[in-house]
């Protein structure tokens, strides 16, 4: 992953939009050999997912199909494909870039918007219940330190992360 430009790239081809984004830079190197698909544990168990296919659709400009579809969310981010791609395409990162665009356009699966609210509220993806917190001393554990939720909110507002939830509401 190298840096990408901020995108104000509405008129670019879809593959150029991806290659100008953080994570998406290497997509154009793909020559469709299929090594990624044959290393992918998810592709082995379901026809709903194939990383080579996702790259191909993206390169041929099938934006709607890729962005609104279910496939991009089925990658388990294991990075097997990325380790093995002979062209050094950063496939798992390309999929993150595709998901980032999907989210911006309002296609965010429920579980991911739950994660987003959890971070905004508690600075944690998984909440620690009061019950568990009060049990800590009985297990010999030190008290939990407070989270930096206020600092985090400033960061999330600087990147526009806090607005992404609204996007979902607009899209539905």
């Amino acid at each position: 992953m190298k840096h990408g430009k901020d995108e104000k790239t509405t008129n670019l081809a879809f593959s150029d939009v991806i290659s100008s984004r953080l994570g998406g830079e290497t997509i154009n190197l793909c020559y469709q050999c299929g090594t990624c698909a044959s290393s992918c544990p998810v592709a082995k168990i379901t026809p709903r997912f194939n990383p080579r296919e996702i790259i191909k659709l993206t390169l041929s400009g099938e934006k709607d199909e890729v962005i609104s579809g279910d496939a991009i969310w089925l990658c388990c981010s294991c990075y097997n494909c990325q380790e093995r791609c002979p062209q050094k395409v950063e496939i798992a990162d390309v999929i993150y870039a595709l998901r980032n665009i999907a989210v911006k356009e309002g296609y965010i699966p429920n579980i991911f918007s739950e994660f987003a609210s959890a971070i905004l509220n508690d600075a944690r993806v998984v909440k620690v219940s009061k019950f568990v917190e009060t049990k800590r001393p009985t297990l010999g554990l030190p008290p939990l330190q407070p989270t930096g939720v206020n600092a985090l909110r400033k960061i999330l507002s600087a990147t526009g992360f806090d607005k992404l939830q609204q996007k979902k509401e607009e899209a539905t």
Binding site: H3, L22, Y79, A97, R99, N100, I119, G140, A151, L152
Partner: protein, 291 residues
């Protein structure tokens, strides 16, 4: 004594007291001091990277800044936290422009990422600060006759270019640390394949199928237990077994333990002090073998 800022993450304190207790006890016994810093947040794991990669890098960098201010390297227990933080640390150290962009974001929270610290998984600390040979000598209750299926998990190893943990196709670190405890680290089919943990919640069905494959292969190879390094792999395989039982009507009864629990047992820490009752699949068989 070597000191580290402990990055605890969310899942361990929320759901796995057994992991936290055993790791704290074992590392203390080995002379590693863990410092709990205030104001740490979520590490910005794959679900956050999925929503916005640049935000996730900034969150990771914010946490590293706290360690930089305390002049400490970071140790993580969770492999997910390790990946998020180590990946961000390596990327930002390597790319000045990206670093400048992230620092612009961080300035809103009064922070600046310098790139002066390391992020280590606790296995790296065991290997680098204590050493496998040394560790062996500290073992008072060797786990002899125990066949352990080591499960590295994806995010300790990959992307290897950034994490630099071990050879991503033929790793040895974890196997060696299991054998240092006197146990046998066994080979099993598709040892390095994913547990499916990150698909839980989006597609439980596919997640369970991947977890099931690990359980089948470890069982077939004659493992007494599976050892994990990550709270997500642990949930996928431990709680996962109950879900697989109700969905596929298959019972594996495969104890899943964090490596730190095996380490604690072999260092002679009393099993009663390890919160072992929080395991969904009982681990008595293993504890009885040790004591």
């Amino acid at each position: 004594m070597t000191s580290y800022a402990l990055f605890l993450g969310c899942t361990i304190p929320a759901r796995q007291p057994n992991y936290e207790v055993s790791a704290r006890k074992a590392l203390a016994k080995l002379g590693i001091e863990l410092v709990d810093l205030a104001d740490m947040t979520c590490c910005a794991p794959p679900p956050v990277q999925s929503i916005d990669l640049e935000t996730s890098l900034s969150i990771a960098a914010y946490n590293i800044c706290l360690a930089e201010e305390a002049n400490l390297n970071i140790v993580t227990l969770c492999t997910g936290c390790f990946e998020s933080l180590a990946m961000a640390n390596a990327m930002l150290k390597a790319d000045k422009q990206l670093k400048a962009r992230v620092n612009r974001i961080l300035s809103n929270a009064g922070k600046e990422f310098e790139g002066s610290k390391e992020v280590k998984h606790y296995l790296q600390v065991l290997v680098e600060d204590i050493g496998t040979k040394n560790l062996k000598q500290k073992i008072s209750k060797p786990l002899s006759n125990l066949k352990v299926a080591a499960f590295y998990g994806c995010h300790s190893l990959r992307p290897s270019e950034l994490l630099k943990f071990d050879d991503p196709e033929r790793p040895r670190v974890f196997d060696d640390l299991i054998e240092a405890l006197g146990a046998e680290s066994i080979e099993y089919r598709n040892k390095l394949r994913c547990c499916g943990g990150l698909l839980r919640g989006y597609s439980d069905e596919l997640a369970l199928e991947l977890a099931r494959e690990k359980l089948v292969n470890a069982s077939k190879a004659g493992a007494d237990c599976i050892a994990t390094l990550c709270p997500f792999c642990f949930i996928a395989l431990d709680l996962g077994q109950l879900q697989i039982k109700s969905k596929f009507e298959e019972e594996y009864n495969m104890p899943v333990l964090h490596y730190s629990e095996l380490l604690s047992l072999s260092l002679g820490i009393d099993p009663k002090d390890l919160a072992l009752q929080s395991h969904k699949v009982k681990v008595d068989k293993i504890v009885n073998k040790v004591s």
